[in-house]
């Protein structure tokens, strides 16, 4: 989960990382009660990058200009994202700008400290200046000093920048982060340092063990106003809005393999859903059969999906149990045809591919609702693609 800049800076302040005086602005009128002296910077709080170039950052000198600028920013989407809040912040005269980050590196299986003496927007353009230090054993401040020296710092900056890195690392460990980044770290003419912008990514797995972060995650989820209990369901992703096939499988690798096969066969999957239990991050997970039923419901709600391909390999419920879930699901829907309000389209077709030692009983079960059970994966894909073309041609 990515935090917004103002949230990241609240954490920085708690850790003792220097940040500028700032104030959260929920609506333009909040600027009337601004406690920071002008000039002030207004910044759009969006998770995407490039907001400066997009016009999401504005310097203002007085209340009238500030309110006007805030109104503009609130109505400016950045890469499609409208800001919920703005951050009003004091101005800072940086003589130099550094880049600092702590990130988890999968290759070395350790956190890595990153730093460049060329921060801000320049950091991408001079990758050769980016230095790194692997935190091999438990962190101790000398790892931070090692980075500052690789960055070419001297004198008092060694200690002051090391102190910032140490606090970033503490935050990284305390909050189970994937990434904490300060870019830029402003350096004044007196060699004082200031975190001017910050980015924090919390590891999704660890959210449940941090009550404060769990609250943030819940608020974010509510804000997104998500219709489906996806956390209970498993992981789902929209692949291609113009697609017309839904894929439901158990296991991420299997779902991706199915997606590849369907796409290679010339069709467009719209949504893929993994109901495998391994990846369910919810702490009170539903049983597999419940997730399967919920997943089917979810795909059936999607207007553009013409065919749903179910591909389940070697799960703990038997093929017969799975077939029963599917049969019950179909029967429930046949009993209660969709009300015009909630659904204006016919149900999609269904292809079920199961792999198990004993499939006859499952096949018989599915026959009662006219759903074919396919054993071979390639054949299931072929049938899916064929049916999608037929169904698409129908309407």
């Amino acid at each position: 989960m990515d935090l917004l800049e103002y949230q990241a800076k609240e954490w920085f302040r708690e850790m003792g990382i220097p940040v500028l005086p700032s104030q959260r602005i929920d609506r333009p009128s909040d600027l009337k009660g601004l406690k920071i002296p002008y000039p002030v910077v207004l910044k759009s709080q969006v998770r995407t990058g490039g907001r400066g170039r997009a016009g999401g950052v504005k310097f203002v000198e007085n209340t009238i200009d500030a309110i006007a600028a805030a109104q503009t920013i609130f109505h400016l989407p950045i890469l499609g994202e409208f800001p919920e809040v703005l951050l009003a912040e004091a101005k800072y005269d940086a003589e130099r700008e550094f880049y600092l980050a702590v990130v988890l590196d999968a290759a070395v299986r350790r956190p890595v400290l990153l730093g460049s003496p060329q921060g801000g927007v320049d950091v991408e353009s001079s990758p050769e200046l980016l230095q790194q230090v692997v935190v091999e054993q438990e962190f101790s401040p000398f790892y931070a000093r090692r980075l500052t020296l690789k960055m070419g710092l001297t004198g008092t900056l060694i200690q002051s920048v090391s102190d910032i890195i140490e606090k970033m690392y503490q935050l990284f460990v305390q909050k189970d982060l994937d990434l904490v980044e300060i870019n830029p770290l402003g350096v004044s003419s007196l060699d004082e340092v200031m975190a001017l912008d910050g980015k924090v990514t919390v590891n999704d797995r660890a959210i449940a063990r941090h009550p404060d972060i769990a609250v943030m995650a819940e608020k974010k989820a509510n804000r997104a106003n998500s219709q489906y209990p996806t956390a209970m369901l498993g992981s789902w992703e929209e692949v291609e809005p113009s697609g017309n096939i839904g894929i439901l499988g158990n296991g991420a690798g299997l779902v991706m393999a199915t997606l590849d096969l369907v796409t290679d066969a010339g069709s467009k999957p719209a949504t893929c859903l993994n109901v495998g239990h391994g990846r369910n991050l919810n702490t009170s997970p539903l049983a597999f059969c419940d997730r399967l039923a919920l997943g089917l419901e979810f795909l059936y709600q999607s207007k553009n999906i013409k065919v749903v391909l179910v591909n389940i390999v070697g799960s703990v419920p038997t093929a017969l149990e799975i077939a029963s879930v599917i049969t019950n699901f179909i029967q429930r829907h046949e009993d209660r045809p969709p009300a015009s309000k909630t659904r204006s389209h016919p149900y999609p077709g269904l292809i079920v591919r199961l792999a198990d030692l004993e499939l006859e009983a499952a096949r018989e079960q599915l026959k009662t609702v006219q759903v074919p059970l396919v054993e071979n994966l390639d054949e299931a894909v072929e049938q899916t693609v064929r049916l999608a073309k037929v169904n698409a041609a129908k309407r």
Binding site: L104, A106, A257, L259, L273
Partner: protein, 295 residues
């Protein structure tokens, strides 16, 4: 790596979710499950598996153990693994899904210092068909034979085992290293084990988007592996960043190329290493047969 049917096996978290089912399956497959651990349940038995409160209590009773298989809830997996290491167990398989990566960083620092092998987390473990099942592999799809499988997936691995079995190609070992950001044993380690394993005549490597371990494996195969390797990478058509819950991806950060972690990058690496690439699971048996004929 000790993978004989005589190996003594412990199960930590015997009463968690489906773990008792898997424990019974393992026993039925011939795995020598000597004890289970569940604090608060010491003194009970599951089938004929005695249950203890602490690993050290179990070891005092049943003697040294070769492998422990961890099923405990994800936030308790680090503690379970450290308890096993403190008791001197040298092979640990973590089935639990959802372990925070910094717990794994902590565990791996200690595992490296104590020379403990960690497989997983979020892994179905290891199977040696007809000999030993250490984890949750769907053993019914495997048959003994000459093909070693190393993978990051679970069900996709069974799919490919099934395709091989159906094509008359048995398997020597099947292992999934897990697909989390931070995992214990690597493709490299298993390629080396399979290369040295006398039964294995060909290796199937199954990769997916996220991380850069397939790229490293491709380079390693070119340099050090003599047996034929067939690579299959899933997720070619998956949109960038969409991985259905697999979190092997690196955090977006300055200084990392945009292409890192994509299936395309992995496929390019295997192509450069001149490793045979299967386009689809059903192509794997053909390529294995071709490679074995050559050999």
């Amino acid at each position: 790596m000790k993978l004989t049917p005589e190996s003594k096996v412990l199960i930590q978290g015997l009463y968690e979710l489906s773990s008792s089912t898997h424990a019974v399956r393992m026993k039925a497959y011939g795995t020598n499950v000597v004890a289970g651990i569940n604090p608060g349940h010491g003194g009970q038995t599951l089938g004929d598996i005695p249950v203890f409160d602490l690993v050290e209590q179990a070891l005092a009773e049943v003697g040294p153990v070769d492998t422990t298989i961890i099923f405990v809830p994800p936030y308790q997996a680090l503690d379970a693994a450290l308890e096993a290491i403190a008791a001197g167990i040298k092979q640990i398989i973590i089935i639990s899904a959802g372990m925070p990566p910094l717990d794994m960083v902590h565990l791996l620092r200690i595992a490296e210092a104590t020379e403990t092998l960690i497989v997983g987390p979020n892994s179905p473990g290891i199977i040696v068909p007809a000999k030993i099942l250490l984890g949750t592999h769907a053993s019914e799809f495997y048959t003994p034979g000459e093909v070693g499988i190393v993978s990051r997936s679970s069900t996709l691995t069974y799919e490919i085992a099934l395709q091989l079995t159906t094509a008359g190609l048995g398997q020597s070992i099947g292992v999934s290293i897990g697909s989390d950001t931070i995992i214990g044993s690597s493709f490299l380690q298993w390629l080396q084990i399979l290369d040295e394993d006398e039964t294995t005549q060909a290796i199937v490597l199954i990769g997916e988007p996220g991380g850069n371990s397939e790229e490293a494996a491709a380079r390693y195969i070119a340099e050090a592996i003599d047996k034929p390797v067939i690579a299959y990478i899933t997720g070619r058509q998956a949109p960038a960043g969409k991985h259905w819950g697999h979190t092997g991806n690196l955090a977006a950060v300055v200084g990392r190329g945009a292409n890192v972690g994509t299936a395309q990058s992995k496929l390019a690496a295997f192509k450069e290493a001149k490793v045979a690439i299967a386009q689809r699971p059903s192509e794997i048996p053909e390529l294995v047969k071709k490679a074995l004929k050559k050999g």
